[in-house]
């Protein structure tokens, strides 16, 4: 039977993609970030032995149009093309999917859980999904794991509540646990941490909030579920509302899951957080 073997919370700052493409991971400014992911990569491949990653992310007005904008969208493809986000296509192998597990998850969410997902035969994936993949999973020629993309509206309000995102995690766990194949699944919540990219409040950072969030995603996620979008945006910046996606990862783990890694770095305009967690053996 399939099981959830790891939870990962990580920022998905797009500049990280450019740093990788330009081979600048070892510059003094970037080394502190990349070094933190080295033990995570080893842990995911050697200890957790991840086969498939459910990536909870948001598209940034790239492959999803405001013309018809879903609250939650789940990919069902065998392959996801790398998107052009307006600056050319990054030199990455396309992302591999797992159509059978995707279809199982879609059926479970719609039939058993009352999640009204948008089912996507086609998704072009962009930095919201690719940067976390870059950071956590190797790709030499091809990626080492398959992916189920779960795209969340964090751009156009009304966006889902923090609590709804948490419940999605719980529903995803039940979906995985009812899948009859031996597959090790990681759930990754991406985005944030504190940042604001628009208006005269550009560059707003709140490391204190980020620290509170990293503490609570580990020990008291339901405290985060109680935050309104308003409070989250006021404290951590309008674009930090992406952090609700970490709750889906946390909901997919048990309440007493243990933290394995944690990191925080805030060089420029975005708090870059990292946490990994695992259920007790």
């Amino acid at each position: 039977m399939a099981k959830i073997v790891a939870g990962i919370g990580t920022s998905h700052v797009p500049s990280i993609g450019a740093v990788i493409d330009n081979g600048k991971q070892n510059t003094p400014e970037w080394k502190p970030l990349f070094d933190a992911y080295e033990p995570v990569k080893t842990w995911l491949s050697d200890d957790a032995k991840v086969d498939v990653v459910i990536v909870i992310y948001n598209d940034h007005a790239c492959d999803f149009s405001f013309s018809k904008y879903p609250t939650f969208a789940v990919g069902t493809a065998s392959e996801y093309e790398i998107a052009d986000e307006g600056f050319g296509v990054r030199p990455l192998p396309s992302i591999k999917g797992d159509p059978a597990l995707s279809a199982h998850i879609c059926r479970h969410l719609v039939y058993e859980e009352e999640f009204d997902i948008t089912i996507c035969r086609d998704i072009k994936v962009e930095h919201g999904l690719l940067v976390p993949m870059d950071l956590c999973f190797p790709h030499q020629g091809d990626w080492s794991v398959k992916v189920i993309p779960v795209q969340v509206n964090v751009l156009q309000h009304p966006i889902p509540t923090a609590l709804r995102c948490y419940k999605l995690g719980k529903a995803l766990r039940r979906a995985v646990e009812s899948y009859d194949q031996d597959v090790n699944v990681a759930v990754m919540g991406t985005g944030g941490m504190s940042h604001q990219l628009h208006g005269e409040r550009f560059g707003h950072l709140n490391t204190e909030f980020d620290s509170w969030f990293l503490d609570n995603i580990e020990t008291d996620p339901e405290a985060i579920c109680d935050i309104t979008h308003f409070d989250l945006m006021e404290q951590a910046g309008a674009e930090a509302v992406e952090l609700i996606m970490w709750l889906t990862m946390r909901g997919a783990l048990t309440p007493n899951a243990q933290r394995i890694h944690r990191n925080y770095y805030a060089p420029m305009t975005t708090g870059m957080g990292l946490i990994t967690m695992q259920d007790p053996a």
């Binding site: 307006g86 309000h157 990219l197 628009h198 309008a238 674009e239 420029m268």
Partner: protein, 119 residues
């Protein structure tokens, strides 16, 4: 269920991308979406007015773009990720775009950052 809305309250210097903003910015956002194709970015460089015309941008909206007035493009309903995409056509990256929204120079802005080399 927690009430997400705080009627009458607002966050300083913040323009939350609500449905009404999305509707107001539909022409700007439609233009920006098409820029995910190289072909359309090339078209913009050759003849931006024709491309903006295809998406029915108003005179005022074209002026904001031509004058690189990013802050007012946001206020006109341009989603920030779309404004970033449009600014890139003028070789304006995220941090200069931010500095301009703050009304300060790029150098001044960098001074406020923890690791200004991490651009």
């Amino acid at each position: 269920m927690v009430d997400q809305r705080k009627p009458g309250k607002s966050i300083r210097d913040t323009y939350v991308f609500e449905l009404e903003m999305s509707e107001r910015g539909r022409r700007i956002n439609n233009l920006a979406e098409c820029l995910n194709l190289q072909e359309n970015r090339d078209k913009f460089q050759v003849d931006s007015d024709t491309l903006m015309g295809q998406f029915q941008l108003t005179e005022a909206e074209r002026k904001l773009i031509n004058e690189n007035d990013w802050l007012n493009l946001v206020k006109a309903g341009g989603n920030i990720y779309n404004v970033i995409r449009i600014a890139a056509l003028f070789d304006v990256g995220l941090y200069p775009l931010g500095a301009q929204q703050l009304g300060i120079s790029y150098e001044e802005f960098l001074k406020t950052r923890n690791e200004k080399g991490a651009t």
